[in-house]
Amino acid sequence: MPWRQNEDDHMSILLDENSRVIVQGITGRDGSFHTERMLEYGTTVVGGVTPGKGGQAVCGVPVFNTVAEAKDKAGANTAVIYVPAQFAKDAILEDIKAGIPLIICITEGLPVLDVVEVKKALKNTSLRLIGPNCPGVISPGKSKVGIMPGHIHKPGSIGVVSRSGTLTYEVVYNLTLSGMGQSTCVGLGGDPVIGTRFIDILDMFMRDDETTGIVIVGEIGGEDEQIAAEYIKKEATKPVVGFIAGRSAPAGKRMGHAGAIISSGDTTAEAKRTILTACGVTVVDFPDEIPSVLREKIK
């Protein structure tokens, strides 16, 4: 897997010092703002892509017309997408065509059928999509690809995986305050169809030698937490602490009969807490309880 680090450096997953990032939509408002923040953090941003604006420079990095060109000329191995929702599908498909190993889509509001189409194009490739509608990925001290505030993170050995954005920051902030650094923090995105799910990232963390404990941050809706719970029960070699948002949320609106027929289970926060607990995860009530519980479990 090209996005995994060398054998002698296991301090993170997905991103490290060798990540060479291109920014799709670099000339836009969000794209240029976050390119600057990523550069400040020390991320190796090797270029941007905006069709028709090749040859320009933004924040001191060259702009290319196509992803393929950016890959050839700048050696990009990671792409981050800030283009508006209506162009995001084509941006991801362009990455897939160019063979970019890691694609991180920050853009929110993609039509679900666009993501279904993208997932089909990803099948039988070794490429990985994170998102859409996510804060991105950070391996503290090495590389930050996304929109999270870099300064709340600290290098260390806790892996964080979450479906949320700002709630992930809250969790990371508490870890850092208590002196627990992070190996990698991954925001999966809040949409129903996403590129990468809890189990994919949990598996990477379990194999990552320097990750000693894992935090999983879930929320109401869908069944990914339940699937993750089953995985943890069977495969976990490291302690996992969980937080699930949405216990006080009113019951969701019904989606015809079809939704009830295909969803086999209960997608409430309480149901998720129950199954995670039954599978060996310590589920906390408050995000600020995570560091102490995790420290106790790692002992």
């Binding site: 929702a85 679900v112 954005g165 949405g246 006080s248 408050f286 995000p287």
Partner: protein, 377 residues
């Protein structure tokens, strides 16, 4: 986004799906004309966007003009789960031999579009799915809108045993799938799909939900929205770029990000309070958004205290602070405000607020404890 049965029926009809003849009426004269054209007996179906209308008496079969007049008047007086019946669908009554179910939706766990069909259609379809899951058949589209016809033929045989119906059914399945993709639906459902006594298959109901994220591709669909089903405050909030849901409690909340907003509500509850709303200001940091959010929350007289909980990422804390000051200037603020700001430009924000003697809290727990205590006073 949901639309009414009569609107979904029009979309199905335009796509070539067999629907029952009839039309929609908002007044008696129109209903009588439609019934004359369709031929008695006809069914009057209340058009509401909530479930359980049959049980609420919202569907009536009438055999002549007199019965129609009486039933139409009664339905127009009816309130179903609090919603008035504005429009009534008038359709010819059909002779039902057997009821089937078909629906197309996204199975997010499989990242795929799925067509679900059953020869045991009707109101008990979900019960059937639980007790007798073998009676529910699923056809996955495998990512694309191009249907593998051979595979579909085999699938149809598994649902419709009568060979004389299979060609009709296959055509219906294909057309429903086409509608689903073309209109960016999140659900396209026919329940029941009826086999009539004369061997025809017709859609005796029509239900479509659309993917809100895809509405930019379908301005014609967006204009079909029935605003009677959206809370006025929620509608206004959406115009301001806020995501807002009104609840029953007394602690107003303004948070950035849906996950953190939900967690904030959870913690308010765990610490003895009740949230008055869910409000996500979203990712951008326009001071005006804070002002608008406070305006909407303050309209709720149940609110006894308000918590602003911001973890700055894209959102910059100083912009939020400016919004708070502006709101203090412009709005009459009869309830206390508790502010917690962390993250991007936190220091600048605290300086701005300190000048106006607004205290901030460093952690979410402290801030929630404080706001719950204030709301209980």
């Amino acid at each position: 986004m949901k639309i009414h049965e009569y609107q979904a029926t029009e979309i199905f009809k335009a796509a070539g799906l067999p629907v029952v003849s009839g039309g929609v009426a908002s007044e008696l004269g129109m209903a009588l004309q439609i019934a004359d054209k369709a031929g008695y007996p006809v069914v009057l179906k209340s058009q509401v966007l909530v479930g359980g209308r049959g049980k609420a008496g919202g569907i009536k079969v009438v055999h002549n003009k007199e019965e129609l007049e009486k039933a139409f008047g009664a339905l127009k007086q009816l309130k179903i789960k609090g919603y008035a019946v504005e429009k009534i669908l008038v359709v010819r009554a059909i002779q039902i031999k057997k009821e089937f179910y078909i629906g197309v939706t996204v199975d997010s766990a499989k990242d795929d579009v799925v067509l679900i069909a059953s020869s045991a259609g009707g109101v008990d379809i979900e019960e059937t799915a639980r007790i007798n899951p073998e009676a529910i058949k699923k056809f996955y589209l495998q990512g694309g809108r191009d249907v593998d016809l051979e595979r579909l033929t085999v699938f149809v045989r598994g649902v419709f045993e009568d060979p004389s119906l299979q060609q009709q059914a296959k055509d219906i399945f294909q057309k429903l799938i086409k509608v689903f993709f073309e209109k960016d639906c999140s659900l396209a459902e026919i329940n029941p799909l009826v086999e009539t006594r004369d061997g025809q298959i017709v859609a005796a109901d029509a239900k479509i939900n659309f993917d809100d994220n895809a509405l930019f591709r379908h301005p014609d669909i967006e204009s079909m929205k029935d605003s009677a089903y959206e809370d006025a405050d929620e509608q206004e909030a959406r115009q301001y770029g806020l995501s807002f849901v009104k609840l029953d409690g007394h602690v107003g909340c303004i948070v950035n990000g849906a996950g953190l907003a939900m967690a904030t509500m959870d913690i308010i509850k765990l610490l003895g309070g009740e949230p008055a709303n869910f409000l996500d200001v979203g990712g951008s940091s326009n001071p005006q958004k804070v002002l608008n959010a406070l305006k909407i929350i303050l309209r709720n007289k149940k609110v006894k205290a308000i918590l602003i909980n911001i973890f700055g990422g894209i959102t910059r804390c100083d912009d939020i602070a400016k919004g708070i000051l502006e709101a203090k200037k412009q709005l009459d603020m009869p309830v206390p405000l508790v502010v917690r700001l962390t993250g991007t430009n936190e220091k600048e924000a605290k300086e701005i607020l300190a000048q106006s003697h607004i205290q901030t809290y460093a952690t979410m727990r402290e801030a929630v404890q404080r706001v719950v205590a204030l709301a209980a006073k």
